[in-house]
Symmetry: C2
Subunit: 229 residues, 2 copies
Amino acid sequence: MKNLQVIAFDADDTLWVNEPYFQEVEEQFCSLLEEYLPRHNASKELFKTEIDNLPLYGYGIKAYILSMIETILRVTNNTAPPAMISRAIEYGKSMLQKDVEVMEGVEDVLKNLQGKYRLVVATKGDLLDQERKLSKSGLQEYFHHIEIMTDKQEKDYLKLIRHLDCPPDQFLMMGNSLKSDVLPVLGVGGYAIHIPFHTTWAHEHIDHQIEHSHFLKINSINDIIEILA
Amino acid sequence: MKNLQVIAFDADDTLWVNEPYFQEVEEQFCSLLEEYLPRHNASKELFKTEIDNLPLYGYGIKAYILSMIETILRVTNNTAPPAMISRAIEYGKSMLQKDVEVMEGVEDVLKNLQGKYRLVVATKGDLLDQERKLSKSGLQEYFHHIEIMTDKQEKDYLKLIRHLDCPPDQFLMMGNSLKSDVLPVLGVGGYAIHIPFHTTWAHEHIDHQIEHSHFLKINSINDIIEILA
């Protein structure tokens, strides 16, 4: 990791808390459907709808609201009381208005690295919602560039790296998802650091270990300062 | 318009057909609600929901689907048959899968201008959906940069122009909306050309004439070639 030019950060569950809010709403959603389905099944049906909708809707809260509604309609065979759908929309709207909780250590790390590297946000999700969170986080000023991506596959990272005019081996990505923040970056010749978060969306799970000379796992974002020193 | 460096194009109803698809679906939506509301009122209620939701949802088809659902729930006071909501979702999903109809003359114009200027797409809307349309249009190769924006106000154009490292008076924007493609660009010192489309979303209407030394109105995108010659 010598001659690094660019350090890119995932946003959700790396810079700020995200997945716990989805899980909170999923709990409420399962309660809503309790009359029709055991909680575990409601959760499974929602996940199925989300994955089916991914190619059409992409990531983000609007897609999540639509998936909640479609799940309600499907599992109740179009017999759910419409007020149930209104509730799901309210849950979603409250997510879109949540305060942003910046994770511990993040601002110190950004302060320390600013000026030494070009700092970038590389995140999936909804354009407007990610801009809202960035603005509410107060972290915007630290970043040279914000990339909101429809997906995080190798081709997407290649596009980003080319846009930043940075050789892959001078690019470091940090994030909480092995699937989205680590594997594709290693695949295109970059460096990747995994900072696990206590909870991860099922879709981001991978079930094998990663061994790679460009890969590191750290427990806290603060550890990066010593590593780069 | 000497020394132009960058020519930016709006996408929806400038590069390809868009608004007529929304109007088609709006017709279907009004039919759906016919039992509850006269068509004209259904249309007005939908527009009201859309405008109310704009700060939270932004532009694009997912926001539109959610606004259709919320309108159904509101105007029927949560008594609509759930199948009606399923239908609204189907309408929206069919919009997300539509073929892309590139407007007449667009490809010739891009071919002619490519290499002489940096060509850019500057569009509002949903990230995934705009990328899908660009890819389906076959026009991607002509563009140096694609900017998908949450809004098109002066600050948004300033950000884009700064990102492109282009002085405002060497930037030309072309589009069908006076409100989004012309006024804010003139406001930051750029050039703007209006190419009216036969139909415009109510939200994009302005009701005054524009007189400005950096402004032109043309009838067809082809006219730009002679103007720049």
